[in-house]
């Protein structure tokens, strides 16, 4: 287990996190980093898919409460995360695997630190259990039903 390194997918809002630093520089320091414009854009489908693709945890970094460029995107994602945690818990994915931070960090120096902290927490939990049935569904069938 000493070799185990949890895979954390980090979504962060470009309005509040790391906008003063070059994105390439920051992405060298953060694995699986997805800077986006407004965390309100993160759909439950994206989060579930991340787990299915092998993520052990998801870290969402949004703007401070009341400071969303689009009025309430950060507040919307917060509610979504609460609801999704309830859903995932009932299929065996622990609620600690999704963490949300609403704050501001223009230089983005705190992002690698937050990922590291979450990674540490996840090491205690161990790898996220996957359904291990993803390969069973023929690709054409998923496409036929409108999936990717």
């Amino acid at each position: 287990m000493s070799q185990y390194k949890p895979k954390v997918v980090c979504f962060s809002c470009k309005f509040g996190w790391g906008y003063l630093t070059d994105e390439d520089t920051l992405s060298n320091k953060i694995e699986n980093w997805i800077p986006i414009i407004c965390t309100g854009k993160i759909d439950a489908t994206h989060m579930i898919e991340a787990f299915e693709e092998g993520a052990d945890g998801i870290l969402i970094l949004g703007c401070p409460e009341g400071d969303c460029h689009y009025q309430d995107g950060n507040y919307e994602v917060k509610k979504r995360v609460y609801l999704l945690r309830r859903l995932l818990e009932s299929i065996g994915i622990e609620k600690e695997r999704i963490r949300i931070e609403l704050s501001i960090d223009p230089k983005g120096r705190g992002i690698p630190q937050l990922v590291k902290e979450m990674s540490k927490e996840l090491t205690k939990l161990g790898p996220s259990k996957r359904s291990a049935v993803a390969e069973e569904m023929p690709k054409e069938a998923i496409k036929a039903r409108g999936g990717k």
């Binding site: 759909d43 439950a44 489908t45 579930i48 898919e49 299915e52 919307e76 917060k78 509610k79 979504r80 609460y82 609801l83 999704l84 309830r86 859903l87 009932s90 299929i91 065996g92 994915i93 996220s128 259990k129 996957r130 359904s131 049935v133 993803a134 069973e136 569904m137 023929p138 054409e140 069938a141 998923i142 496409k143 036929a144 039903r145 409108g146 999936g147 990717k148």
Partner: protein, 320 residues
């Protein structure tokens, strides 16, 4: 003129889908005139062996309902696929896994233990469990193998068309049948139902306020729901926003919210996940405590949001 051969078959099904075929009433007689029904286990006496003797592609259309959970169902599905030019997944179980798909939240072992041992009405002192093969009086008896999980039809065989619903309403059955007979079928892989969401045609849509804001979530049996007001506006979870239209609002008409039997709208793979986003956005909660309080009012979220579609969702199955 040689009539086109058609098969109607059930796999893991309750019989409701076959009933839906019968519900097209006298039109069924016209269908029976126009086609040669070569298999319909629930209604007519035919043998699977006679299907095995057919040439590949000899059957024009196989209408298959029910999910797949054992080796016999898989065998029949594959047999029909091989012998048919077109396969129509009929009903929620064939298209999405259906309500039996919720069994993916538990394991095969737990199901066997409950059904053959732990349930209070079961007497099984010898601890007998079904075996795929056993010897009785020198003869071998076999049973199909029970799989670890429930599959939708397209998890097992390629499917050409989908007609969801629990069961599909008679007019959509007629539409599907006449589309095949008149060769007016849409692109392969299509669902033979409208592409939009149920809310688009729901009569209650007009009663919806400009901005929905749910402060309390109520279950349908706990309140007396107003008969013409949007369920979500009343705080009752209705899956209409994330569910495909085409059912004729049979639940809404009897004052029951949508449960999602028509599956996701076009272009969406997982209706439950989409509904999470939709529902979260209309929760009217300010503080974290408030959000937690409202969300905790949803008893069994997975059962509610994936009632018919767990086997084809991204979640598919309980972990571990």
């Amino acid at each position: 003129m040689v009539k086109p051969k058609v098969a109607i078959c059930w796999l893991g099904a309750c019989g409701g889908c076959d009933e839906a075929v019968v519900d097209i009433n006298e039109v069924l007689l016209r269908v029976a005139d126009a086609v040669d029904l070569i298999l319909w286990p629930v209604a007519l006496d035919f043998k699977y062996d006679s299907v095995k003797d057919m040439k590949d592609g000899e059957i024009v259309l196989s209408v298959v309902n029910g999910h797949v959970r054992n080796s016999e169902q898989e065998e029949i599905a594959k047999l029909l696929r091989g012998k048919s030019q077109l396969v129509l997944a009929f009903g929620a179980c064939a298209c999405l896994g259906g309500t039996p798909g919720l069994a993916n939240l538990t394991t095969k072992e737990d199901i066997f233990n409950w059904v053959y041992c732990d349930a209070p009405t079961v007497v099984n002192p010898k601890g007998n469990y079904p075996q795929t093969s056993s010897r009785v009086n020198g003869k071998e008896l076999t049973l199909p193998e029970f799989y670890d999980r429930v599959y939708a039809l397209n998890n097992i065989i390629p499917v050409d068309y989908y007609l969801p619903g629990c069961p599909p309403p008679p007019y959509s059955v007629m539409y599907a049948v006449s589309a095949v007979l008149e060769n007016k079928l849409p692109l392969k892989g299509s669902t033979l139902a409208p592409q939009r969401a149920l809310c688009d045609t729901c009569k209650r849509n007009k009663s919806k306020p400009d901005r929905l804001a749910i402060k309390e979530i109520k279950r349908i049996h706990e309140v007396e729901a107003a008969p013409d007001i949007c369920f979500l506006a009343q705080g009752i979870i209705c899956l209409g926003p994330a569910t495909r239209d085409g059912c004729g609002e049979s639940c809404i008409n009897i004052n029951i919210p949508c449960r999602g039997c028509f599956g996701p709208v076009e272009g969406v793979a997982d209706s439950g996940a989409k509904f999470v986003s939709a529902l979260a956005s209309i929760l009217d909660a300010q503080s974290e405590e408030d959000i937690a309080r409202i969300v905790d009012q949803i008893i069994d979220p997975v059962g509610y949001l994936y009632r018919f579609s767990l086997p084809v969702s991204i979640l598919r199955k309980r972990r571990g």
